[in-house]
């Protein structure tokens, strides 16, 4: 019995780290992604080029490798080693997800018909007003399904943190395999499954809420 409690405690505290990584990444990457989008859609060519290269590199290399780079590069290149592995992992996740989110945003923004901007312009609205009062809401409605996809992937990706020794749930469970117990490792799947189920319900709810109009 005490072993069961020990396993539970260990797994729950491990999954706490997964959730922290998940929440931290979303809070920072959602707005950061928008900034990246503005860069990749900018009329200023050098900025657009730099942003697009950045997105290419981030999307074109494994997240696992990016975690190593963020952890070791500051120490090796600038003599300022990362103090906390968790911070390094979080930073890598934020950068990676901001790049993916930015492409979803860009797709959403570019899918809004030009006529919406023109209608706003002939009604003497400023560009900022057109974006925030007319375009943004329609973009949000359109990007909820792809963002949902990406966010489901995120919670599962958080288990990559173990490769630099952050004790997330799978790493916690692996300790028990050394004691001959495989059950804890397999049961970590339940954590992800239940959490993703809840997220799916949330996204369905948001989609329904936004469904009061059709395009």
């Amino acid at each position: 019995m005490s072993q069961f409690t020990e396993i539970c405690q260990s797994l729950f505290s491990g999954f706490g780290l997964n959730l922290a990584l998940f929440a931290g990444t979303l809070i920072a990457a959602i707005p950061l992604g928008l900034i990246v989008t503005l860069g990749s859609m900018s009329g200023f060519k050098p900025l657009r080029w730099v942003t697009k290269t950045f997105v290419w590199i981030i999307r074109g290399t494994p997240l696992m490798l990016q975690i190593f780079v963020v952890l070791y590069a500051p120490g090796l290149l600038f003599g300022m080693p990362m103090r906390s592995r968790m911070t390094a992992v979080l930073a890598a996740f934020i950068i990676n997800y901001a790049a993916y989110f930015s492409e979803i945003y860009r797709g959403g923004i570019e899918s809004i018909p030009k006529g919406q901007y023109e209608a706003g312009q002939v009604l003497s609205m400023t560009k900022v007003q057109v974006f925030f009062k007319v375009i943004l809401f329609q973009v949000i409605k359109r990007i909820v399904p792809p963002m949902g996809n990406e966010i489901l992937t995120l919670i599962k990706d958080t288990s990559l943190a173990r490769i630099v020794g952050v004790a997330e749930v799978i790493m916690c469970a692996e300790r028990f395999t050394k004691e001959g117990l495989i059950g804890p490792l397999f049961s970590t799947g339940l954590f992800f499954l239940i959490f993703c189920g809840a997220l799916t319900l949330l996204f369905n709810y948001i989609e329904r809420k936004l469904d009061y109009y059709k395009n």
Binding site: L123, V134, K141
Partner: protein
């Protein structure tokens, strides 16, 4: 003094010249119908006047004051451009209503945003919004939609959507209201309701420029017709002159085609 004066407008997209020197002028309360086959530059002309495109040559004056001059090199601030834009209203062929807002919200949005720039906005906010709402309801009733205030565009027929967009354009009190083929995206049976609304506006002496393929309608409602071909006005005059007794061969050909249909 003419309320609107268009002087020698040219517009090219790359090497394609779409407008090759278009000029006309109108007095307050005039209704001008622009006819011409597809590709003659009618829509581009409206877009140039409404600042959606920048003409490569020419000048546009409202009440004798220049609002656009292609020779002027200085950069116009966006604030100044928006003030100039207020002179004009534009009704699009494809309505372009904001789908996430109700009919009433569509009409109220621009006036509400504009009111925020007023000095007394903060003190009299409730009253100002109330006035904008009253005006918007009055406009929507005028186009026969008093029952549809809280409907979203997706819940309205094409004709109703176009009437909302007319009310939306009128809400800013433009000096000249432009229509870009307002009935082209509509079924024939819905066309009538739009034409009726435009006729009602004509009775209220609203200055209008209407790009249309509805020849009979143009004859009934317009004071003046211009016929465009190849980016130029090739014939202009009263409906009797242009529609009933066209002198130019191209006009005759175009009208013959319509009469046969």
């Amino acid at each position: 003094m003419p309320i609107l004066e268009i002087k020698d407008i040219y517009k090219n997209f790359g090497k394609t010249e779409v407008l090759k020197g278009v000029s006309f002028s109108m007095e307050k309360g005039d209704i001008l119908a622009v006819l011409g086959s597809s590709g003659s530059g009618k829509t581009t002309l409206l877009r140039c006047i409404n600042f959606l495109e920048t003409a490569s040559k020419g000048q546009i004056l409202v009440d004798g004051k220049s609002v656009f001059d292609a020779n002027e090199n200085r950069k116009i601030s966006s604030k100044e451009l928006r003030r100039k834009q207020l002179n004009f209203g534009l009704v699009f062929q494809s309505f372009n209503l904001f789908p996430q807002y109700t009919a009433l919200q569509n009409v109220m949005l621009a006036p509400t945003l504009l009111a925020k720039e007023r000095d007394d906005y903060k003190e009299n906010k409730t009253q100002i919004i109330k006035e904008i709402e009253t005006d918007a309801i009055e406009l929507l009733s005028r186009v026969g939609l008093s029952e549809k205030l809280s409907n979203y565009p997706c819940e309205l027929s094409g004709g109703q959507q176009q009437r909302v967009s007319i009310a939306r354009a009128l809400a800013l009190n433009p000096k000249v209201l432009f229509f870009d083929e307002p009935t082209s995206a509509l079924d024939p049976e819905l066309t009538g309701e739009i034409l009726k609304v435009i006729k009602d506006l004509a009775k209220k002496h609203i200055t209008m420029v209407i790009v249309t393929h509805e020849i009979d309608f143009a004859r009934n409602v317009a004071d003046k017709i211009v016929f465009m071909a190849d980016g130029k006005i090739i014939e202009s005059g009263s409906p009797e002159e242009v529609i009933d007794n066209p002198k130019n061969e191209r006009t005759q050909l175009f009208l013959n085609k319509f009469n046969k249909e």
